[in-house]
């Protein structure tokens, strides 16, 4: 995985192609005419993929935290933290795009929707992760303790993201007897842009993380050279 991310370039071209298609197709292609949603349905291509991307990036981060605890290699910690950063960026974008969309369809930026709240709590957890990292001085201790918190927080986040919204009514489609998403699901026009959009945005997140991982690796090599 690390080799693929750092050495190969074809997936970056794929990301550009997919995102180009998402931008053009997302703004110009035919979409279903639904009441209330109207043209804002196009936000589907820019809002929902942020969540898919965030979950994927945070999942990679957790996997590398587990790997770090097993191996103790500083490289694994770098991957974990940079993917967490990319995940946080996607989370923030997801909340912001969601709030704009909510203003136009639900009438308010924030309407105490369980998924909105879950997203806000999730971000708080990862902000705390960053504060925890910065409060520790020793590099090894920083890596180990933040890996422990990362895994712990992710384990606590899963019930939050997947169970809580299903127990209560939500304004979001697909929960609490709100049939919205099934109606879009049936629409092949939406699908044709939505799935490539998810893949494209996720790849962009991986790309962002990989650039920062490479910078950190170079910094570490330079430090080792100075020390040695």
């Amino acid at each position: 995985m690390e080799e693929l991310i750092i050495k190969k370039n074809w997936w970056k071209a794929l990301a550009i192609a997919l995102l180009g298609y998402t931008l053009v197709g997302g703004l110009l292609m035919e979409v279903p005419r639904l009441a209330i949603l109207n043209e804002t349905i196009r936000a589907l291509y820019f809002h929902v993929p942020m969540w898919f991307g965030m979950i994927m990036l945070l999942l990679v981060s957790v996997v590398y935290s587990i790997k770090y605890l097993n191996s103790g290699k500083p490289g694994h910690d770098t991957v974990a933290v940079e993917f967490a950063y990319a995940g946080i960026l996607f989370g923030v974008l997801g909340i912001v795009t969601g709030m704009v969309w909510a203003k136009f369809t639900w009438g308010d930026y924030w309407s105490n929707d369980p998924k909105q709240n879950a997203a806000a709590i999730g971000l708080l957890i990862y902000f705390a992760y960053i504060v925890l990292r910065n409060s520790l001085e020793d590099e090894q201790q920083k890596a180990r303790i933040s890996a422990v918190y990362n895994i712990f927080a992710f384990a606590a986040l899963i019930p939050l993201l997947f169970i809580l919204p299903r127990l209560t009514d939500s304004l979001h489609p697909g929960n609490g007897g709100n049939p919205g998403f099934n109606a879009y699901d049936m629409d092949s026009n939406l699908r044709m842009v939505f799935y490539p959009a998810v893949a494209g945005w996720t790849l962009l997140g991986v790309w962002l993380a990989s650039i920062r991982i490479r910078i950190r690796n170079i910094e570490r090599i330079q430090e080792d050279r100075v020390m040695g």
Partner: protein, 225 residues
């Protein structure tokens, strides 16, 4: 091995209880903390007993308990001096230590929450219709507070500035559990049929199992650093 671990947990748990009994000031301090928080809330609202809406009554109670839990559980790793911790770690396995601490903190929280409820109900009125269900919510909440905050307290004690870290690391993690507890407690206040709380009950148990097993697996790594 299995019975060995059980025995170890038993001994460590006994050690925690005896230690607490010998330094009663910490425990009395926590009781007083609950008491003063209740008084502060009572006076800030400036109301007669029983005038608080059940929703606010419930939320206020659990917020007081949340802050009590953060403070009570935070000391589980901070109170011990480094030398004694090192000595303890040469004697016992990390799994034994974390399980004993979780159990002990759960017991501590049950006592604190129970006493808190008594005092709170006397001062602010008692709208409870299903006391047994509310007590069950207290037991589950004590376990959840304990499982979550014990590991967090271990993490926070490794970093400086612990009380702030304890809150920012712990609050977002405990929130979903707290919401479940509040909902279950609200059902108890309204005296709804018990089957209405089954979902919350199962979710709480599941979260507790997940968090305990993750703590069990992660603590050895934390302890080594």
């Amino acid at each position: 091995m299995k019975s060995g671990l059980l025995k170890e947990v038993q001994i460590l748990l006994k050690k925690e209880v005896v230690l607490e009994w010998r330094q009663r000031y910490a425990f009395n301090g926590m009781l007083l903390y609950v008491g003063s928080s209740v008084i502060v809330c009572y006076m800030s609202f400036g109301i007669r007993s029983g005038a608080l809406q059940p929703v606010s009554w419930n939320a206020l109670f659990w917020i007081i308990m949340l802050f009590t839990a953060v403070n009570a559980v935070a000391k589980s790793f901070m109170q011990e001096r480094e030398g004694r911790q090192l000595y303890l770690y040469t004697l016992a396995s990390p799994q034994g230590i974390i399980l004993a601490k979780i159990l002990y903190n759960a017991l501590l929280m049950m006592v604190l929450t129970g006493v808190g409820l008594l005092f709170y109900a006397v001062v602010l009125g008692n709208p409870l219709q299903d006391v047994a269900l509310f007590l069950l919510a207290i037991v589950l909440a004590s376990f959840s507070f304990s499982t979550t905050f014990t590991l967090i307290s271990g993490i926070a004690s490794k970093a400086g500035n612990s009380s702030v870290l304890m809150a920012i690391l712990g609050f977002p993690v405990i929130l979903p559990t707290l919401l479940m507890v509040i909902r279950m407690a609200k059902n108890a206040i309204d005296g709804l049929d018990r089957s209405a709380s089954t979902d919350e009950l199962i979710t709480l148990l599941a979260i507790n199992v997940i968090v305990t097993s993750v703590s069990y697996m992660l603590f050895p790594y934390l302890w080594r650093s």
